[in-house]
């Protein structure tokens, strides 16, 4: 009697063979999920880490028949803990975005015209290599700069170095975290890291000043934040806008924009005057207390009230709350710190406050990262750099990430030496750098602009050669080393094979290197080989890593100060510098000093911007799954002001800034949730690339209105919140 082949088994067998025949992307998700429900096919989970934002959450891609049908968080990854935010969940939307870059493209028109012809990889790479060689010959390798963000950095930075240039510019420094990191480094000898080492889950009081955590959806940090809220932690939020976080706060301080430093200094003043600081901690670990005390004497709450419009009693009360709950107080240093040009000093003030309350290295404050060392693989030494890097020119304290606008300036002026070529990987410069006209003009002067990206972003569509990288779900990338409480190693591996003619970043870099006779700097055959060797170096099993996605190195955690675990401060004095000797040496204020910044004239509003929990700025703007939930941004205007101006909720308005730049029409949100002197919108909308069919011209581009910027003299970062706009009703909506 032949065995009865039930319908289910039969389909399972054919399902397996069909998968082997790989007619992958043809079957729609609907059918596959139904088939899975019936038990006909089984999904396989491929661990990787996400690239929708920079948190690098460990994710598990559910693949059925060669199609990614869902993404779930990897429980082994400390940044995800088994969960993914909305954007991580929508990752497949990027993978299957029909507007993705599919083939290498070579420009056939003027820069910015958007005219391209399809080319083969050989052709495209040959063009790039030829031009790079030409620049090297005529101007020297230092004339090529790399602008980069995210995991492509791991492939293209070595290429840049091998080529002979050190001119890298990462917008994440000069347009985002730079001054924060510099300020904390000057105070504690190190910054808080990214992900930040804030011990929110154990905090008794959280102070958010300039952070809209919640809308700023950073997975594990929000998990900790929610944990703290559920446990009854107190929350103080300082924000001109009633954010999600403010909605949970016991104290919301709607501060007048640009006066945050006044508030911080007043808090320091009160805490010192009342003797609420951690005397033992300061004694043991800090320097410069008396100088600090003298310097902040004038910054009383009464004085601060005049600057910040926050009542003196509130300033006093919030300081008292901090003292009451110290040291389990988390003064969150924020992330995007490039506001008004004195941002290093503002971060210094935050650092000083953290130190006074004794929270650095304590539970509920800022925990100490793992001190476990990551062995470096032996690699070929880079050639001698023939010229001084200009990417931090004039800013001794700028980070190794370089200053993007300095490179741009050099491209425009040719001083100190010309930059003739830009390689742009994984970053949308038009949306990142202030004053778009400068970026545009600089690009016009280049001999070569090559873009490596996944989507036809605004900047990509200006390049001479566009090299399509496949998405994070289709490639290997460098091991992500996490230095939180413990040392973790995470793997990115392809869940599906690259679609169309797109290639992984490592392949592109290696192929370019070959054509530039730099092949020996990329000695491995495939990147997986390099990963394997790294694993053996780290002493972990590659097979296990492939299974789990993330491995936590045991016994690498020592987050808090204990008698046997003393902190080390990498400052000049070896202690926390309340009074910064280094700054004094460089000719800057050793203790932050308040300067008043210009406020908007009547009839104008300060433009402030932020994030949406379902978008990562322009990166996700076209993702159909995320676009659906948030297709356009709105400009928030105070309700009383709107009434005055006769503007109704939902009307479309245009914003015109002080330099006459007019924005795209944008929907007006009339709300009580914002002060009268500023307007707010989510950053990243208003793309100008026609190829992004979902996102094209939806909403307004705040970056276009950021034409005025103040450079922080210490870090070289660009303060971008000093632009004032007026509103005009749009008669017709585009």
């Amino acid at each position: 009697m032949s065995a009865k082949v039930s319908r289910r088994n039969f389909l399972k067998i054919t399902g397996a063979t069909a998968a082997g025949l790989s007619v992958s992307a043809a079957l729609p998700d609907r059918f596959l999920l139904w088939a899975e429900e019936q038990g006909m096919v089984k999904g396989t989970y491929v661990p990787t880490y996400c690239e929708i934002c920079f948190w690098k959450c460990g994710a598990r891609a559910k693949v059925i028949n060669g199609r990614v049908v869902k993404l779930e968080g990897n429980p082994s990854h400390p940044g995800a803990r088994g969960k993914l935010c909305g954007r991580g969940n929508g990752g497949a939307g990027l993978l299957y975005d029909p507007n993705r870059l599919k083939h290498p493209l070579i420009s056939t028109g003027k820069r910015g015209e958007g005219k391209y012809r399809q080319a083969t990889w050989d052709e495209a790479l040959a063009v790039v290599a030829e031009k790079l060689k030409a620049i090297k010959e005529q101007h020297g390798p230092e004339s090529v700069a790399l602008f980069t963000h995210g995991t492509p950095t791991d492939h293209f930075l070595p290429l840049l170095y091998a080529y002979g240039s050190e001119n890298v510019g990462m917008p994440s420094f000069a347009q985002c975290r730079g001054p924060r990191d510099v300020g904390l480094e000057l105070t504690f000898g190190e910054s808080v890291g990214s992900p930040e080492r804030v011990d929110l889950a154990n905090s008794k009081l959280i102070v958010l000043i300039g952070s809209h955590l919640g809308e700023n959806m950073h997975n594990s940090q929000v998990q900790d934040f929610s944990e703290a809220m559920a446990r009854g932690a107190q929350l103080i939020v300082v924000d001109p806008r009633f954010s999600i976080a403010a909605g949970k706060a016991q104290k919301w301080l709607p501060i007048r924009p640009a006066t945050d430093l006044a508030l911080l200094l007043a808090w320091i003043n009160v805490i010192i005057a009342e003797g609420w600081y951690d005397k033992a901690y300061i004694e043991a670990y800090a320097n410069g207390f008396s100088e600090l005390a003298a310097a902040v004497k004038e910054y009383t709450p009464a004085w601060a009230e005049k600057e910040t419009e926050i009542p003196a009693a509130t300033i006093y009360e919030t300081a008292r709350m901090m003292a009451q709950h110290a040291p389990a107080v988390c003064i969150h240093p924020g992330r995007h710190a490039t506001w008004y040009g004195d941002d290093v000093q503002r971060t210094r003030a935050m650092g000083i406050l953290m130190a006074l309350l004794g929270t650095w290295g304590r539970e509920g404050g800022v925990f100490m990262g793992t001190t476990a060392k990551v062995p470096k693989a032996a690699s070929k030494e880079y050639p001698e750099f023939t010229a001084e890097a200009l990417n931090t020119c004039g800013y001794a304290l700028a980070g190794a990430e370089g200053l993007t606008q300095v490179i741009r300036e050099a491209t425009l002026t040719g001083k100190p030496y010309p930059i003739r070529g830009w390689i742009v990987t994984g970053t949308n410069l038009m949306k990142a750098l202030p004053n778009q006209k400068e970026t545009f003009d600089a690009i016009q002067k280049l001999d070569l602009l090559v873009a490596v990206d996944v989507l036809p972003m605004d900047t990509v569509m200006m390049a001479d050669v566009i090299l399509p990288e496949c998405t994070y779900l289709e490639r290997h990338d460098a091991l992500a080393i996490g230095k939180g409480k413990s040392l973790t190693v995470s793997l990115r591996q392809p869940a599906v094979q690259p679609m169309y003619d797109s290639k992984p970043g490592w392949w592109i870099a290696k192929e370019l290197a070959k054509r530039l006779d730099l092949g020996e700097y990329f000695p491995w055959g495939t990147f997986e080989e390099k990963i394997k060797s790294q694993c053996s170096l780290l002493g972990i099993s590659y097979e296990e890593l492939k299974e789990l996605g993330t491995i936590t190195m045991p016994d690498t955690s020592s987050p808090y100060i204990t008698p046997t675990n003393q902190p080390e401060f990498n400052t000049h004095s070896g202690k926390i510098e309340l009074y910064s000797t280094e700054l004094k040496e460089q000719g800057f204020d050793p203790v932050p000093r308040y300067t008043r910044h210009p406020q908007p004239p009547t009839g104008q509003f300060r433009l402030i911007y932020g994030r949406s929990p379902v978008h990562t700025f322009s990166r996700t703007i076209n993702n159909p799954e995320l676009h659906e939930l948030h297709p356009e941004n709105e400009v928030w205007l105070n309700a009383a002001k709107a009434k005055e101006m006769g503007l109704r909720n939902g009307t479309y308005v245009a914003l015109i800034n002080q330099d006459g730049i007019r924005s795209n029409p944008i929907k007006l949100k009339v709300t009580e949730r914002i002060r009268k002197d500023c307007v707010y919108m989510v950053h990243g909308f208003g793309v100008t690339s026609k190829e992004l069919k979902n996102a094209y011209r939806k909403g307004a581009d705040d970056q276009g209105l950021i034409t005025r910027y103040t450079v922080d003299p210490i870090a070289g970062s660009t303060g971008m919140r000093g632009n004032f706009v007026r509103l005009e009703e749009e008669k017709k909506h585009a």
Partner: protein, 322 residues
Amino acid sequence: MELTITGANAITFPTLYVWDWRVSLYLFLGGLSAGLAIMTSILHVRKGGALAEGERAAISAPIYVPIILSIGMLFIFLDLERKLNVFWFYLTVQPLSPMSWGSWGLIVFYPVSIMYALATFPEGKRDLLRLPILKNWSARLSKYKLQLAGINFGMGIFIGVYTGVLLSSFVARPLWNSALLPVLFLTSAMSAGAAFMIMIAKEKKVKLYFTKIDIWLILAEMVMLPLFFYGQYTSSGAHRESIMPFFTFSHEYFWYGLGMLLLLVIFPIAVVMKFLEVKEDHEEELTPGALFKMNLSAIMVLFGGLIIRLTFVYAGQLSHLS
């Protein structure tokens, strides 16, 4: 209050919008055919059948019933999202679903009304039926005229009332959630049936007979409608809010306010007209003028019934509990 919703479905936000004029039309036509069935039964049974003698409507009315019902059912069928699944209505009985009762009721009402139409077909005119099977059945069923009249009457009441019960059973739609709604719908259905009968009847005595019936029915409606709104007004906050569209002429709710106004005008005028028609000293034959007035008042009643169905279906979906 500032409200932002992410993930709202267009079909339920900002208000529910699932049933439209097709459903209203079915409610009206279904009610009309039910009312007509009731009136037809009355026509044939009253005064031992004397009323029906020589009356053209005695033959035509029972035929109109299934025709009007068919048109109504066509519209409600068009409203279904999965029309091919319609047979599922008849593979199960859901005791707590008025829609299930209705679907079964209709499937009984339909053949009953056709049988009644055949039964009341006069012997002399049977040849008009053409098909031998029809002639056969007409002959057979004419014996059971009385019983069929009774069943028809009962079915008419059921069909006229069940739609009201259906709507009133939704706790989520406060406008409909009133015990008075089924009675209102039934009365409106019967009134429409009487009005229709008036229009198709030839004999003066029949017309006047049903005019008298209609007067009572319209008066009943004129009492019930205010009671209905008063009941809603004095019920919970959600109920009170649900009737607001009817009492405003704002841009959003213009049509409801207009509908209410029309009802306030139509019914009193119709009832007065009918009263005068009855009071008037008619000659043997009704004058064209009198006929015109009778038809006009009848059309007004029908129009009023349609307005009730349209406004209630749409306004009911605007109402919500939360």
